[in-house]
Symmetry: C2
Subunit: 235 residues, 2 copies
């Protein structure tokens, strides 16, 4: 059965983009602080040959990071995507977007499906994230359903208990401000957490890839192992 | 010359403790949501034999994580600590705190130095974080100055450009809410970042240790590598 996966490039302080760009119709997202942060944390992707090939760009590095990109493309049989990301990508991705698979866009605005060259289609789902994931699963042909972002959508899928696997690509930079993958809307109780199990770590100078299997919600229980010990210097 | 280092255990979503406990004098920090989060992300420490030995506790794991703890204790010739952490630890650390080195506490409240058994002393520094770091450096005997936390103090040292090395101990859990190591007070410009260079990654099932050398502030420059490419599924 298909797994539902998400991958996001984040800074060491947890941002996947700079501060949110307010679109006032001038179309200058590319010049915004949001994009400056986004392009910094995704530099390892845009440098990768596997990504550049899909975008029709020459050059790029054929290295471990490129293998990680290629692996992600190969594993995904269908995508689920937020509306803002789909809108932002529509023009730059052009007539032949890099997905080469069905994409289900979670939105409040009904719209006819969009069919592109190379196997990419965009289907606009107006009845919620669970429905989008179910439709993607049906379309994935046994391969994975990849939650493509942005962060808000990843959080919705995580909060709904639908995410099987999360891979963080942790980039060695501190942005200080911007859009956080993990914001305050996970709806976890004060002494509740979501436990993860790391299953793979790949480290390169440009980025550390940490893959987690997502466990269920679990209470935070204080056992007696730390008894007598308050905060310590080794924390 | 001494390096100024900081180590903090953080959840996958960047929290080093649960939501801040408001001390109303009832002394129940240990029962708070703040401590529940703190003890979850420091569980790998309290399980480590190297930490338990310093605290006078029996048992513990003699493993890679314990080696990381032992290495940190050995590398630190002096500590800089926030006032809240020093206050919270004063009772539980007892007559023989685990530091065995001079500790410089950044505070607004003048207080006589406190001398404990085993080589630990607490000196209260009221003229700022740079002064505390300078005094710790003079006392460190060529070993490192370790910024012991909490997060607010680590950010102050980072913001002041005084931090040479940062090690994040990334614990596989999502807390959803709490005290963040990286909060919004780093004073970075919108298109400005602090670049890091990862120098060591050690991965265990309990925690991923990522050590960074801290570079300077740098502008976020959009180069042409990502040209034509908007947000992509591989981000």
């Amino acid at each position: 059965m298909s797994k539902v996966t998400a991958q996001l490039s984040v800074s060491a302080d947890g941002f996947y983009a700079g501060p949110r760009h307010t679109d006032d119709g001038d179309g200058d997202w590319m010049a915004s602080a949001e994009s400056a942060g986004f392009f910094r944390v995704t530099r390892w992707v845009t440098d990768a040959m596997a990504w550049r090939e899909r975008q029709g760009f020459a050059g790029g590095e054929r290295d471990t990071n490129s293998d990680v990109v290629a692996e992600q493309f190969a594993a995904a049989g269908a995508y689920v995507m937020g509306r803002r990301m789909a809108d932002g990508g529509e023009v730059p991705w052009g007539e032949e977007p890099p997905f080469r698979a069905p994409v289900f866009v979670v939105t409040h605005r009904p719209r006819q499906p969009l069919h592109r060259r190379g196997g990419t289609s965009f289907t606009y789902v107006t009845d919620g994230v669970a429905s989008a994931v179910a439709q993607a699963r049906a379309a994935a042909g046994g391969r994975n359903v990849a939650v493509a972002g942005g962060g808000s959508l990843v959080r919705q899928v995580l909060r709904a208990g639908l995410l099987d696997e999360l891979e963080l690509h942790v980039v060695p930079v501190v942005l200080g401000t911007g859009l956080r993958l993990f914001d305050a809307d996970l709806d976890l109780g004060e002494k509740e957490a979501i436990e993860l199990t790391p299953t793979r770590v790949i480290h390169t100078p440009q980025v550390t890839h940490i893959r987690y299997v997502v466990g269920g919600r679990a209470p935070l229980v204080l056992d007696d192992r730390g008894s007598g010990g308050g905060p310590t210097a080794t924390r």
